[in-house]
Subunit: 132 residues, 3 copies
């Protein structure tokens, strides 16, 4: 099982950062033609998701939807004041499975893999493992 981590820097409080190219590059670097890539986000106010990457408006609308669903003020108890970001993390999820075929992520035509920042800007990490 191949394993590693990479870092990324977010620049806004909430944003989606496409990491498909990073994943494609590490699949190529390790000469993997077929298998599964497991991504894991070790942060509790961030997440990983797959969605449309052709139109960046989709990511903005996802953030808009999450901000609507998870109110900024709901008599939360957590002292740091970032409970909405923690809730969004559990809604979107902290890990992803990406199938690998023909030496690249087996994504649909419009899909990209996104790191979701919900409480930035920060420096973040993603752990990955690949099983051939």
């Amino acid at each position: 099982m191949l394993t590693g981590s990479f870092s990324l820097t977010t620049t806004s409080q909430m944003e989606l950062i496409a990491i498909s190219e990073k994943i494609h590059a590490l699949i190529q670097k390790n000469s993997v033609s077929s298998g599964i890539c497991y991504l894991f986000n070790p942060h509790t106010t961030a997440g990983l998701t797959i969605n449309e990457g052709a139109d960046p408006d989709v990511g903005d609308d996802l953030i808009k939807g999450l901000l609507h669903m998870v109110p900024s003020n709901l008599d939360y108890k957590h002292f740091e004041g970032n409970s909405p970001a923690h809730i969004m993390s559990s809604l979107v999820g902290s890990s992803l499975i990406v199938h690998i075929a023909d030496g690249k992520p087996q994504l649909g035509t419009w899909q990209k893999i996104f790191f979701c920042e919900f409480d930035g800007p920060r420096t973040r990490k993603v752990h990955w493992k690949i099983v051939e």
Copy 2:
């Protein structure tokens, strides 16, 4: 690692289609007794989930809940007008892990595996891989 894809046709704008029998059949066809089945939905306005399959009202209530949480009109920017379906896709998730035991999906008594259509009707695909 065994790998493949299957198609399915949805007939409504939003619906849950049980695919447990399809997964069971491909496990049997490949004579797998124990392992993990990884399902991946390559579409950005659909998802995969596991929930109660005995009473079809549960699936209808899930759709009702999602329609309540994700408003149809929220000043979305995406020009195609289907942002709610994209948001639901990230909420439910695009992939699933199904444990395999005794030659079948190791599901709970009431669980079924569902393909979630959020922007149909369409012809859809599901990619699968099985590790023994």
Copy 3:
């Protein structure tokens, strides 16, 4: 592939129960230094998530957020009256991937693995598999 199950008892209608120590213990018991642990919840009114475990208020706020997002009364059809719990199960998800490094779950500083009870109290099960 190592495989097994464990039980846990919940004591409230809705609660998050940390199971990181249980997962750490079974990794150690099986002398696994590196790999992936796959957790699966076979119940349709419960889930699995990873979030902050240092401050228990975060779990309480997650429950508060879910109760806000998923109304208790929405003209649901399911006769058992626990549709909100089913909806939360699909939002949070029924399975988890946990990377293993250095003989333990490769979690972030603040992360813990949680079993989410949405319709308790009940006795619940978690199925696990480990690939080295």
